[in-house]
């Protein structure tokens, strides 16, 4: 976990709140967004309540244009159902909407990431004799393989931002330029990584992750110390735009009033 820079007063928001707000900012109005539970869900709800009222949130359990009136705890949460426009199953959502390329943006998390955005949510350590057994792909591999672009959300330290992930659960750019194409993936790849320390994008040529902005209160050096490869940094690197008053207010009152994902 990042530590606050000494002497800088704590900002009037939580790191999780900033992450959810950064997630929301990645959705353009009218886009089709594929969402899991947790911070991405709050990001989707926030986007829909603010700058992207016409974005459509899709869930893999079979919900199109969910309009939840409470914070969903699970992808199958009953609150995703009333008021949606279509209820169906995994085949329709992944097969008919995502695989042919109709999903603009998908969110995934990860336990380990490398500089090409490859993600591990399967094991820490050896696959057959792991130190920590993690949940596995779920829909993450499908999202990372098939959405037009992927937004990755995760916590950051040197054990998470690694030289080589222990298991490629979800392909980023694999071994770099042309890697996805060689594997046969039809499109996509990570567009952005939102960590609890900063926001990263990927170089269109080298496919390498670079730091676009550091969260307020942190320095580029601190961030570099929490990455285990030689991190590229944008020449225009800047502080992440802090949460706006309305963003915070909507997030806290409409998206997660109980603090289930934002913390209490």
């Amino acid at each position: 976990m990042a530590t606050e820079a000494a002497g800088v007063p704590a900002p009037p928001y939580k790191r999780t709140e900033l992450m959810a707000i950064c997630a929301a900012r990645e959705i353009c109005d009218g886009e089709i967004a594929f969402i899991g539970t947790g911070l991405p869900m709050l990001g989707g709800m926030l986007a829909k309540h603010t700058h992207a009222p016409n974005c459509i949130m899709i869930f893999e359990s079979g919900v199109v244009d969910a309009r939840p009136k409470r914070t969903p705890l699970s992808i199958g949460d009953g609150c995703l159902v009333p008021g949606s426009v279509m209820l169906c199953g995994l085949t329709e959502v992944f097969g008919l909407l995502m695989q042919p390329g109709y999903v603009d943006v998908g969110y995934i998390g990860g336990a380990q990431i490398d500089k090409f955005g490859n993600l591990n949510t399967t094991v820490i350590g050896d696959y057959r004799n792991p130190k920590v057994r993690l949940p596995g792909s779920g829909g993450a591999n499908d999202i990372g393989s098939l959405a037009k672009r992927t937004i990755i959300m995760m916590k950051q330290d040197r054990l998470k931002f690694v030289q080589k992930v222990d298991y490629v659960t979800t392909p980023g750019y694999l071994d770099g330029p042309g890697g996805r194409e060689r594997a046969g993936l039809p499109r996509g790849g990570p567009a952005c990584v939102i960590s609890d320390m900063g926001v990263y994008r990927f170089d269109p040529e080298t496919k390498e992750m670079f730091l676009e902005s550091f969260h307020p209160g942190l320095s580029v050096d601190e961030i570099r110390n929490n990455v285990s490869w030689d991190l590229a940094v944008s020449p225009k690197v800047r502080a992440t735009k802090p949460p706006g008053k309305r963003e915070l207010q909507v997030l806290r009152t409409k998206c997660d009033p109980e603090g289930i994902f934002l913390g209490t």
Binding site: G76, L90, F94, P130, R133, D142, V168, T170, G184, I260
Partner: protein, 313 residues
């Protein structure tokens, strides 16, 4: 015209589990957090089934319980965790330490598992997908060889697909909102992988919130997911999806799930949880009594009624 014979399909939970789920069988559970057949899972634990191969597109507590109980030999699936509530600790203990026993796992993605069920349900040896290409899901073998085949489109587009092998089940579990005495089962809300997963079962064990007169089914046949002739046993289990939700019937029991997530972090905690909620409870009715009418009443769904449509001609 006479109604088809019931032929003894409607039976008590213990009998259905005894009859349909032998030790060592391939058992498919309902996936993706939707209408999960927890009443059956409890009974499988109480009957101390062994060496199951457990199949699903997205497991949560159901798989963790069975692993904790030592019922599982192999898993074929895509995800095992408690969603927002964290990691599944019986799973971790089994994989990391072999406690209470070693478990093998063969992993695909959620979509991959669904397509594997589709293949099995459709009597086909495989289905093509475009995800999983390039990932370790296809590269890291487990107990199946080969795990997948990457094929270039024989029609010349240059596209690649992964052929995933069918995932047939000896028994598929389905928890539906309602059925009639023949087992014609209806569901609504999110469908997850239930269409393909159910038909992937050579046999189908159906649990329902309600058994209704056949005219209720026949007045809205578009909601039927499986016809009775594909169903081998029917068990009426109101609140049979607890602690998860069933659309139109009840909401998730968040407190119950949180309690499990907290207590299952240690083996001792898990055992005390299992003694309290599984082994110390005689059956589904006693389970509901233990939960208590007040708790169940709090969970019961508020009405958000659909409209009607005209099926006339």
């Amino acid at each position: 015209m006479a109604e088809p014979e019931v032929a003894g399909k409607l039976m008590p939970l213990a009998e259905a589990v005894k009859k349909l789920i032998p030790d060592g069988c391939r058992l498919r559970s309902g996936g993706i957090a939707v209408r999960k057949p927890f009443a059956v899972i409890y009974e499988v634990m109480r009957q101390r089934k062994r060496d199951l191969t457990f199949l699903m597109s997205g497991w949560t507590e159901d798989a963790d319980w069975l692993i904790g109980a030592g019922c599982v030999d192999k898993l074929e699936g895509s995800y095992l965790g408690l969603e927002a509530l964290g990691l599944a600790h019986c799973y971790r203990r089994a994989i990391e330490k072999g406690v209470p026993r070693r478990v093998l796992i063969e992993e695909y993605s959620n979509f991959g598992m669904t397509m594997r069920f589709m293949a099995a349900g459709m009597g086909l040896p495989f289905m093509p997908v475009k995800s999983q290409l390039g990932s370790d899901l296809l590269k890291v073998e487990s107990f199946r060889h080969p795990k997948a085949q990457v094929l270039e489109d024989p029609f010349g587009s240059g596209e690649k697909v992964a052929l995933l092998p069918a995932c047939p089940a000896d028994v598929a579990l389905l928890h539906a909102q309602r059925c009639d005495a023949d087992g014609n089962a209806q569901v609504w809300g999110q469908l997850g992988d239930d269409l393909w997963g159910t038909y992937a079962g050579k046999k189908v064990l159906l649990t329902v919130e309600e058994v209704v007169p056949t005219r209720v089914i026949r007045h809205d046949p578009n909601r039927t997911i499986v016809p009775g002739f594909r169903v081998d046993a029917i068990v009426a289990t109101p609140f049979g999806g607890h602690p998860y939700q069933v659309q139109g019937y009840y909401d998730t029991d968040r407190a119950f799930r949180r309690d499990y997530a907290a207590r299952s972090t240690t083996r001792e905690g898990w055992e005390s949880w299992a003694d309290e909620w599984v082994y110390g409870v005689e059956g589904h009715e006693e389970y509901l009594k233990k939960l208590g009418e007040e708790r169940l009443a709090r969970l019961r769904a508020k009405p958000v009624m659909s409209g009607k449509v005209n099926y006339g001609y």
